[in-house]
Each structure stands twice: as structure tokens, then as C-alpha cells.
Symmetry: none
Subunit: 190 residues, 4 copies
DNA sequence: TATGAATGAGAATTCATTCAT
DNA sequence: GATGAATGAATTCTCATTCAT
């Protein structure tokens, strides 16, 4: 494996475990099995490692066609979330690590912000595409926020061991809310 | 104001702004207006500051009697959340700061974990006390998780500027889900 | 027990175990069970503790009348050494501790030098008083040096666990040397 | 001269003059003419300097063939001692310095203990090889101890300015004791 | 490309000592 | 006499970064 790659992997692991500041570049070199000078040869300054790491986040844009089940919001959301989980599972630590450094590194912060926006946009798109009839836009917003937050929480908060089943139930609850409201709002002709 | 207190306030402010690691104790002394040595006289090592800060988190146990509105889950939850927000607003930075350090400081981590448990327990208690008829326990769990997570997110993630109205709408959506399910589950008895 | 005394005892113990420099006055206060300020109240500066400790060395001047056995150098020396050992056994650590600090503290160095001189003078006096006939003054000097050094070594070097019997044998060897020389020098008709 | 070597020499000199604890690493850097950081680059922590210094002690194993004069114990011992003195004279300060730090640094303590054992073994070997007839083993032990202690004392105690002639006389006294005893024990066979 | 010695600006921490009470 | 907060100089050690080779 090329040295650059080894360095990045070591950095990822160490940043995740001890934090960015608390990880000396010398330690990264050590773990990567490369001489100390090489780290700065590839990444002039330490924060460059973070920048490079950001680019390793997997693409989180899902092909919505594949996850939407028309008429079934709960199932659609669940497929979306499962798909996202799959992609991120390989880089759970990376995701968490970046989350932690977002406060002090604007590159990271900006990247995560964009990802969150993409996320919430996708959730909303799935809800709409799944075709719940006549729910208010505000409710769709709320539901999207709840779902996106649940996903984000899972992907960013470390040591988070929620059972998958629990997520499914939460999604189903949200879906039923949307449907109930819709139902409640509709039939009577409002 | 006693020197110890001045030091803690300075630490809180600086940790919140720059992070624990990135804040030199010398800077804390400077901001607190005390000599460098005094910081270590009161807090032998730097992490002791974090420990002391943890103890400054406001008590988050709410008098549930005062927030529950029987028969109105949405309103009850909203009152609970508003109450919690009020308490934490004074220490929003503190809360966020601790959240960030939880990974590397077990004292902090443990404190936050306990707080989260208290939070979720209170949400559930409020839902039950508000008296939604016949919803499944699993749904109450899911709803509690969604609400607790929403609150926790607000209190821990920095720069989070969600409008209060949005929170109310989310709570209302969750409440309606509980009620809808209840209705759906009990077609006969209603 | 008066605080001053408690402080001195604590200092003695700690200096012996960790050395003068490596023992903080705060630690002395702690071990003595007195407030930190009191140490400096009684002993303005830290080296004053050493000075006070020097004065606690037991008097090593032995009543030579009581140890000399005329005609038996070996026995006389043994009695002297045994007597000295008895006095110092109570303060073995003190003795060793001061030895260690002699290099950096002239008060201590001077005290130990005087003690060594007293010691060697006493050894010589005992040899002479025990009455070996006609040994050369130079031999008495050498013997005195050997004996004094043996005693000094025992009293100053820590962790020195020589068996008492061994000391007796060494003394006896030295005595026999003196006698042999005397004998060798004599008979031929001086 | 390589920087590492310059640092070690400076450390040796300063430790000898002021003691280990009382010598700041910054001062070592200064005297060595290197930047402060380099001292810790080569010797991670300060005691590592002591460890490195221990390894600089000259080998004290003497070729016994060269010093033993059969039939003349006094001369043999004198040659041994002179040889040892020659080797150590270059590192007299080093030797003394280590002696002082032995109490607090086990690496040093252990090294010195081994050296003392080697020393006493060599003294005994020389006595035996010089061939004093029929002296008791206990006497050889005693003589060895006396000689070894004399040598050790010279090499470890600072500011020790004994005249060489005095050492010769002491050795001669010990030798004569061995011979006298031998003679006394073996009146017949001689 | 690679390397590892070199650099120097801090960082946390220690601690003797002072001093107001 | 006693106390413990306060002081600040000094010390060890860390580490990102540079750079000659």
C-alpha cells in the first residue's frame, strides 16, 4: 500500500481514538510505519490530513428511484436509511472524528453541513416521492428533520449502539404521523 | 468574585470557543485575571477543570407535575422541552463544550450519558402522564427517543439555530402519531 | 508531639527515601500532618531543615576507657565499632541521607568531615591504648584508615547489609597485621 | 563532535558539579551548545541521560595475568589498584556522580553493584594468584573486602585526596596480615 | 522522493516562598 | 503562633515544522 494511503489510515484511526490535537504527527508516522519526515512531505501541515480525510467520506447521495416504494413512506424511509448506513458503516469512525473536529476546522464543518443538507433534502424527497397524500408542507419538514437528525445522530455520535429494529420503529411512527395527519385532514374535506 | 470561580468561568468560555486541548492554562489565567500558578493551585491538572465544569451543569430534572397537560401530549412535551431549554440556555456553551470532550474524558462522557438517560426517562414519563390511550409501549419508546434526541441535539450541537416554532411542530407531529396509532389500534373502544 | 518535631521526622524520612531536592516541602507538611505554611514558619528555607537534621546526629564520641582492652587490639576495635554501631543504628537513614547531600550542602559536608576525623582519631587512640608494642606510626595510620573507612562505609552507604561477624573478622585481620609487623620488627634485636 | 556526544559530556560535567536534580536540561543544552529541544530528541527524558552515562563507565576488568606477582601479595594488589585507578581517573567525576544518584536511580544502582562485585572478585583472585600459602578462606574474604572498599571509596567519594603512598601502605599492611596468619597457621610446613 | 536530525516556540506542571488574616 | 491562598520563576517535556542530504 502506498505510503500516503498508510498515513491517512493511521491518521484516521488515531484521530478517531485520541482526537486531532492529541495525536502527534510523529505517532501517525509510527503507526503508518513510515519515517516522520514523510508525513509532512505528503501533508505539509497537520490540518491537511483532515482535509484529505474529509474527501474520503463516502458519497451519500442515494439513487432515490431504488429506495422509494410508492405508497409506503415507512418502508421508503427505511430503505433510504439502510442504504445510507451501509455506505457509512465502513467509515463510522471517520464520520464521528470529523464531527468532533468540525468546531475548530471550518473545512470539516462546511463539509458536514453540506452533507446534512443533502441528507435532509433526500429524506424530504423520499417522503414526497412515496406519495403521502395531502400532508402539510410543514409536516413534511418536521418529519424530515426528525429522520435526518436520527440518521445524523447515528452516524456522528460515537459509541452509539442503537438496535436497527428501533430505527425501523421510529421511522414507522413518523410515517404513521404523516399519514394520520393526512387522513385526518383529508376525508372530512378540509 | 473568588479566584476559583473566575478561573472556572474563564475556562468555560475558552474551552467553548477553542476547545479544551487548544486552550492553554496560561490563557485561562490571563482571562481570569489571576497568575498562572493559581490555576494549578485550584485545579491540579487541566482535566480537573473539566470535572469541575461538569458539576456546573444545571440540574435537568423537571417537576413533571408542572408540565404535563392531561390529554394533550403535544402541549405537555412542548412545556417539558421549553423548561429544559430555559435551564440550559444559560449554559448552552458549557453543554456543547462538554459534549465535544466526552470522547476523550470519561468523567464528561459518563455525566452526559446519565443526563441523556434522565432526559429520555422524563420524556417517556410525560408522554405516559399526558395520557394517550392504548398506544403500544414500543411506540412510546420510539417517540421518546425521537424527542430526546431532538432536545439533546439542540443542547449539544453548536451553532444550532433552529427556530422554536419548528420544535413545536415536530413535537406535535410525534404526538399526533401516537394518537393516530392509538386510534388505529383501538377502533372499537373509542 | 510538637509540630516542629513532627516536621523534622517527616523530612528525615522523606529526604532519606527520595532525596532532598526531590522532596517538596508540601509533601513534608503532608506527612507530618501539619499545614503547609507551618513548615516555612519553623524553617524559613528548605535547607534549614538539613541544618536542623545535622544536629540530630547522635554524638559519636565514645568513652575510650570503656572499650579498650589492653593487649588485645582486635577486641578493642571490635568494642569501639560495636559501640558506634549502636549509637548510629537509630539514625542509619539520617546518616545516609546526609552523606548524599554532602556534595551540595556545605553545612552537611563540614559536619560529616568532622565526624570522620573524630572517628579516625578514636580508632587510632584505641589502637595505641590497646598497646601493640613497637609498630611503626605509619602502620597505625594505615590500620586506622582501614577501620575508619569500614565503619564509615557501613554508616553511610545505604542498603549495606554486611554481617556483623564479617566486620569482626576484618578487625581481627588488621589487628594481626599490626601485631605481626611488630613481632617481625622486634625480635631481631632492636 | 556529534551533538549527542556533546550533550552527554555536558551532562556528565554538570551532573558531577551540581548533581542530577539540580541541573536543568536547558543548562545542559546551553553548555553543549545545542538547542534545548535536541537534548530531549536524543534523550527522551532526563534520567535517560543517566542511563547513557552509566554505559560510559570504563570497563574495569583487569587482565590479572599482568598484575599478579607471584609470592608478593602487596605488590600484586598495588598493581591491581594502580591499574584500576588509571582507568577510572579519566572518569572520576562520572564515577562519583553515579554513586550519588544510585539511591534514586535503580539503573545506576544496579550498575554500581555489579561493578563492586567484579571489583571484589578481582581482588580475591589476585590475592589467591599471588600465592600466599595456607591462609584461611575467611581471611582472604576479609582482606578482599578491605581492599575493595578502599578502592571503591576512592572512586566514589568526591574530593577524596588520599596520597597514593598511603594506599600502598594500607595494601602492604593487609598483605602482611595474610602472611602472618599463614605463617602462624603453618609453623611446621614452612 | 525520502529521511531523520535539528529547531524553538510553547505547554503543563511544580514548588519554594510570601503574606494577609 | 498558624494557615492556606497566592505568586511567579523555573523546569521538564512535546511537537509541528524545517531542511540538509
Amino acid at each position: 500500500m502506498p505510503a500516503r494511503e498508510r498515513i491517512l489510515r493511521a491518521a484516521e484511526r488515531l484521530f478517531a481514538e485520541f482526537g486531532f490535537q492529541a495525536t502527534p504527527t510523529s505517532r501517525i508516522a509510527e503507526v503508518a510505519g513510515v519515517p516522520k519526515g514523510l508525513v509532512h512531505y505528503h501533508f505539509r501541515r497537520k490540518p491537511d490530513l483532515l482535509t484529505a480525510l474529509v474527501e474520503r467520506l463516502p458519497d451519500e447521495r442515494v439513487d432515490l428511484q431504488r429506495v422509494v416504494v410508492r405508497g409506503d413512506v415507512a418502508e421508503s424511509l427505511h430503505r433510504l436509511v439502510t442504504e445510507l448506513d451501509g455506505r457509512l458503516s465502513a467509515s463510522r469512525v471517520l464520520s464521528h472524528l470529523l464531527w468532533r473536529e468540525a468546531d475548530t476546522h471550518s473545512v470539516v464543518r462546511e463539509a458536514l453541513r453540506q452533507r446534512y443538507e443533502t441528507l435532509i433534502a433526500q429524506v424530504r424527497a423520499v417522503i414526497l416521492a412515496a406519495g403521502v397524500p395531502a400532508r402539510s408542507p410543514a409536516d413534511v419538514d418536521s418529519a424530515s428533520a426528525l429522520v435526518a437528525r436520527a440518521v445524523s445522530y447515528r452516524h456522528s455520535v460515537a459509541r452509539h449502539t442503537e438496535e436497527p429494529e428501533e430505527m425501523r420503529r421510529e421511522l414507522s411512527l413518523i410515517a404513521s404521523a404523516l399519514e394520520a395527519k393526512a387522513g385526518a385532514a383529508e376525508p372530512t374535506g378540509r
